[in-house]
Symmetry: C2
Subunit: 144 residues, 2 copies
């Protein structure tokens, strides 16, 4: 469904949000341990998110990745997916055709559209702060 990069990115962002909510910055090391992802690879992914202003970072001792409280309210999963995987999940044809749309559809086009719209809506309607609040119920995990 998502690329590995996107999976790691989503897990990392959720962890960073958790930590930011507690007033902590998250170092690369702590992130890749918490979400069980390869550190160097995770670094690249986080760099992309920083460059696109989805999250913040600071260098040096006591540095790390973090999010401002406001950012957490506004940042959706959809934004993360969009940066890391583009919008191909929503727009690409389920059968892999390059030209597939309402005018010139593949046989499954309309069936897929419904499902993809639901996925997109779910990602758009889920903000990081929502997840952080739900996670306080802590039945949830991000690792393995």
């Amino acid at each position: 469904m998502f690329s590995k990069s996107c999976e790691y990115g989503l897990r990392a962002v959720i962890f960073i949000a958790q930590q930011s909510h507690l007033g902590h910055k998250a170092s690369l090391t702590s992130i890749s341990q918490a979400v069980d992802s390869p550190p160097a690879f995770t670094a690249k992914i986080l760099q992309q998110l920083v460059k696109n202003n989805l999250i913040d970072s600071s260098k040096g001792p006591k540095g790390g990745f973090f999010m401002a409280p406001e950012a957490m309210k506004n940042l959706t999963l959809e934004a993360v997916v969009s940066v890391l995987d583009g919008d191909s999940i929503y727009t690409n044809c389920g059968l892999g055709l390059k030209q597939c749309n309402d005018k010139k559809p593949c046989p499954l086009h309309f069936k897929f559209v419904a499902i993809k719209e639901e996925l997109q809506a779910m990602l758009q309607n889920t903000t990081l702060i929502m997840l952080v609040n739900e996670m306080n119920l802590d039945r949830f995990h991000l690792k393995r």
Copy 2:
């Protein structure tokens, strides 16, 4: 969403069903032209489908791939996806965790379950004969 193999396989199967409905066998050449897929690669995919008895084939001149009318009524897209991609689309965690289930869920588990079940239901409820009949309205295409 699906692997390339699965995309080609689905397109090929739909074309074979169309042709079988018209009483024709579909040669590898005709299939890969009709659905715009690499012939040798498509051959491998079709071999898998034959081996799993989703479609039939015959060798020699006038040979090719085909489906019995009954098979067409029973064969679902889900069966094709299952052979080519396994059930990972339905069962895998959206965040890539190996252990993610109702008991020990990732933060997005329940949101994803709903969407994946819908996808699975759609594939299970769509038989090849249904597609062939709809395709007679011929606004639909399988190529490019």
